[in-house]
Symmetry: C3
Subunit: 258 residues, 3 copies
């Protein structure tokens, strides 16, 4: 499980923020040596005076020499392999470091396969996913495919997603040298006017990690800087400041992993 607590300044007010998550994992193995398992998460989150509570993020998988097949609440293949540049703060401060993926509608299926430095993923949203609009029923079927090459010092990944009538190509890369890790993601979505860019640098000195990011999301540019200090035993202190294009927002808090 995990938990976090801290103060968030949203540009106008400073609020208490806390979240507790318990993850239940189950695992087994068939007589033929296939691994299988499932996980489901119990959340208790509160920001401002809305105290949301839910069971979510359930997945079930089977894996073997053929790779791993997961059904349930999956990210798209592109999101899984390309991912995001680094963010700041104990909640993510709005996750402005993320350019976004088209995603898919659950129940989704995700297939992953790795061999040496090369990873491959394929995902599909629910085959019958649709949404009703004033102009008719819109098909929201989604498929995605992605590949990644990663070594100890660098990685490069490419993902393609299709969701209804929209498409996105996302390219990501990372490189580590002299204590610094640089990450970059470029995303081109049909329904966006411009190509979006994100860049981050993480610099580690002993137990402290300094992180900075910059994104160009068409009309809006955002940037942020933060620091994390590892208290040991699964606890960290994190603080960050982000300019979201309109306001300067900030936060400081603790995260715990159990």
């Amino acid at each position: 499980g995990s938990a976090r607590m801290g103060l968030v300044y949203d540009g106008n007010d400073t609020e208490f923020s806390s979240r507790i998550r318990v993850v239940f994992k189950m695992a087994g193995e068939t007589d033929g040596g296939l691994a299988f398992g499932a996980s489901v998460r119990a959340d208790q989150a509160g920001v401002a005076n809305s105290g949301g509570t839910a069971m979510s993020a359930g997945t079930v998988f089977i894996s073997g020499a053929f790779g791993k097949l997961t059904f349930g609440d999956n990210d798209s293949a592109a999101n899984v392999l390309v991912g995001h540049v680094s963010g700041v703060g104990f909640t993510g401060l709005g996750d402005y470091n993320e350019l976004g993926y088209l995603g898919n509608t659950d129940t989704s299926a995700l297939y992953e396969y790795s061999t040496g430095a090369l990873s491959f993923a394929l995902s599909a949203g629910q085959t019958t996913a649709t949404v009703v609009t004033p102009t008719g029923v819109i098909d929201e079927q989604a498929v995605a495919v992605a590949a990644k090459y990663s070594t100890d010092t660098f990685s490069v990944a490419l993902g393609y997603e299709q969701f209804g009538d929209d498409e996105q190509v996302t390219l990501g890369g990372s490189a580590t040298f002299s204590g610094a890790t640089v990450k970059a993601v470029v995303a081109d979505r049909d329904s966006w006017a411009d190509t979006h860019y994100a860049l981050s640098v993480d610099y580690a000195i002993d137990a402290t990690t300094i992180t900075a990011f910059y994104t160009d999301q068409g009309p809006i540019d955002t940037y942020g800087i933060g620091a994390a200090y590892d208290l040991g035993g699964g606890a960290s202190v994190l603080g960050g400041i982000v300019d979201d294009g309109f306001d300067t927002i900030a936060e400081v808090g603790l995260t715990f992993s159990f």
Copy 2:
């Protein structure tokens, strides 16, 4: 806990289906030797684009030489002892093998007592259960009583339920010979025009079990056939085809128990 994943063909479309359940059980014993316990279930289920999530199926019990008394989310006494004939598929494919019980409104109470080959059960729905309709408030109090005689090779069970103004008598039996188990259930409900019938045969060959069922539910007849293969370690592959009286539906998938 348990989990399942697979493909369901509903007569028009083939959909991804998955479900994850975690069951929390707690148990204790009094100084006088009475056993007590409780269980509650965390579900994460997704069929098509509705991702339902809930905590449910909570019960609390105390048991001893006097039998077992359970409060909470109980099935009726008739359902507990008479039950259903066998079904097919990894989700149950609509559970058309089940004739149905009148059930009860929770919080319900269930009392069970066994002595040798004979079992006895008595249940009552919430005493104040009512439903408001245009013509007034309808009392939905429910009571049920059932008895079962079972040996290694056969069983016979009889149940009576009363729910509001409706009544149901259900008779069930099973017999095992030469690797085959035959089950039959006959149900007569006041609000049904006809008596309903269900019959199933399970035939086991090594790790494979072949199942077929037939039901006569008044104007609608349904039948299905399926197979299950035990992969060991709590994993099984299950497939089935059902004619629900209108469409032919089918599914294939995996079930895991942990």
Copy 3:
């Protein structure tokens, strides 16, 4: 976790009542010796035909020589240290022994510090808590402070709460002699016409505890008497009768702790 089952008479009808709770606790320690942890609760409760289910009561804390700081679903500092006089029954029978606290809006923060016989607590509701009414937006910020002095034979506690425009001062005390524990709470809230009083006596004889309480809540007086018998192993039988000012209500049931 905990569970309970029994019968409740609400003045008109006798109903089945049951509740199951599972508490998930997580804990850790930093390299510098600070303790941290979190808990979240899975509930399955059913009274009459409403079967409520939820994840709730999540909190996350960090503690050390400086005291303990908890974020999440906290009671106010006054409620934590002053508390209530004793109640009766397995569900609390309406909790008429409780005079009530102003409370706070989650996410709240609670700080606690103890040194010897003296305890101190400070709490704050969500800083941006508001409610929209026909006459405008009302600020619901809350703060509370409380102190308690307790020894083996007696305790005295004082709490002050402010919630929006309302204020409450609550004084509580308890004393134990010859097997009897007497508790008293006096609460003075700005928005009440009168000062409210509560008094209880618990008398223990072997495994049985007899409890009686009386409250004067302005126009309404309530009183109740009950008994609890400890079955051992975490199980108890509890029964009680309460006059809530209008009806006589009663209940008998079992509670289990795991």
